[in-house]
Amino acid sequence: MEVPILKQGAFLIATFQAALSDADLNQLRMGLVQQVVKFRSRAVIVDVTAMDVMDSFASRTLREIAHMIRLRGAETVIVGIQPEVAFAMVQLGLTLEGVATALDLEEGLAYLNEKFKVTN
């Protein structure tokens, strides 16, 4: 299942719809970086609200996405990690160090708007 990427002004928003396979995550990684280049985006929000499980592969892919986008001079914010998923991630020893996170899409947009002082 492909992850839709929505352009919102200077930002891109990728919304995870359901359980994603490794192939879907790899596709998202490539797609996001290409679109950041294409639209000269300042930031990317990855909304993982619907994600059932954040295992080692998914969290590594999110870290890689954030690093690649950082190399393009843009920022990534992960939003919507559910409390149960966060608990499982901590138990598993997974971290998203160096990646900005926010409670939900609204908070993520507020954080970026403040940071970049743009109006979408």
Partner: protein, 133 residues
Amino acid sequence: MVGEIRVVINSDQDIVSARQKGRVVANELGFSSGDATLIATAISELARNIVSYARKGQITIKKVNGHNREGIAVIAADEGPGIADIRQALRDGFSTSGSLGLGLPGVRRLMDEFEITSQPGKGTTVAVKKWRQ
């Protein structure tokens, strides 16, 4: 009453399918949704180990009874290369595939019981259990 569920693992899509089935069984057995997420995460890691190291194998999910308690058992079995040094594999940060170092110790923390048997050249079986609170 839930029977035994077997999921053949030989692609990344099977990882998703195994963890989804595990969550359904956990819900049916009355686990909280938080515990069901822990169980689904553990299954995802175990299935990923099979795909990464052995290419194919199977995951069995079933109900278990203990003393005055019920739980779920997950058995991940493969006939892959096996693990030469299990103690090393259970240390945080250990990885031979270069990318996933957190699998087994992480799974051990997610579940209540953890057993591993492995023979180099013959395969690996990881059996984990979680008891309902």
